[in-house]
Symmetry: C2
Subunit: 216 residues, 2 copies
């Protein structure tokens, strides 16, 4: 099965602005991408990156160099749909900002696929963090509450949509309030190591968990 | 197995203030409690409510009257620990603000239990939304990042902690930003019906999902 991980090379994770500067956001996004690729490889799959631009070699230094990178400058939705259109079999699309993923969570996603069906893993806020399409006519639309659109789209072509109930797949990292999840539940991930090196740690105030950053 | 659902009868869900008034928050909290009790009963269990005060009869009108209510005025942690101390077998504790729960998600939680072990279902932000303790010495501490404390506490008594990876169990409803999940993923729940009757609907702005409330 083809497994595609879309990745925005330029200006990723803009909602982390204010907490991380642009160069840090690039580094951190690459660490999360590394976690997703590691998880997929440990689960027994051969992922490929669908990037908006080519990576500098030094920027890929800590990623597995055997992972192929396909460049498509278009936005996420048309770039993924181009992959789905050309595919001759099932295709999985796994977002690059899921550092909590484990081989077990990914295996549960992939094991749920069946001929003619679409499997969806929701993200917080109505997003679709991962999917497996085994229907040739299924297309994505990542704008807005994409889970609703994907369920509707799958039903419209007779591809029974099935949902995977996973906290780890649901935990995409978009804003500072998401960062505690990495330190709480993925302490050995590349993303957690990156955060700790940057001086970011858990901060518990009034019984609520956040993150704080120590001065350099 | 004993299944306990703690419920704050007075002033529940204070972080929804500003979006729902105090009387509405009481109603809405009871709707979510009803969803959790329904899910537990459909999964084949006989839950009991551990309430901070007795319910008015009319306030319970839409809840299954056969569900027993035990009153303990103490805070959540000592009230739950009193149950754990008296228990002669495994005890499950499931929070009352999980309207996304399904019998399947609950069954996965309960199926993971084993003699001498503790099963934990994380909530967003380090909370523990559900647990099953099969160890006589396990005690809870719900303050702060309770997942870390519960894992540590379980390890300290030799009760191997195991974690359940469920988006539905992780989705506790505390603040307005949590409300979209109910309308997105639990459209037939009591909580979703309550929100729709109150004029609350999904609102998608700039590709991000929130809720809006129509004027009465």
């Amino acid at each position: 099965m083809r497994v595609v991980v879309p990745f925005a090379v330029d200006r990723p994770k803009t909602r982390l602005a204010g907490f991380l500067d642009p160069e840090e956001r690039l580094d951190f996004a690459r660490a999360m991408l590394g976690d997703v690729l590691d998880g997929l490889e440990e689960a027994g799959y051969d992922p490929e990156v669908l990037a908006t631009a080519s990576f500098d070699t030094d920027r890929r230094s800590d990623l597995d160099p055997s992972v192929p990178v396909r460049v498509d400058e278009r936005a996420l939705t048309p770039a993924v749909n181009a992959v789905l259109e050309r595919a001759s079999g099932p295709v999985a699309v796994v977002m690059a900002d899921l550092p909590l993923v484990t081989p077990a969570a990914l295996s549960r996603l992939f094991a749920a696929r069946s001929a003619g069906a679409v499997v969806l893993a929701p993200g917080r806020g109505g997003g679709t963090n991962a999917l497996v399409s085994s229907h040739p006519d299924f297309r994505v639309d990542y704008h807005g509450a994409s889970m609703l659109d994907h369920e509707r789209g799958a039903n419209a072509i007779g591809a029974r949509p099935r949902t995977i109930d996973s906290f780890r797949l649901a935990a995409d990292i978009d804003e500072p309030a998401d960062l505690p999840e990495i330190l709480l539940h993925a302490g050995e991930s590349r993303a957690a190591r990156w955060l700790r090196r940057a001086g970011v740690s858990l901060s518990i105030t009034d019984g609520r968990v956040g993150v704080a950053r120590s001065p350099e």
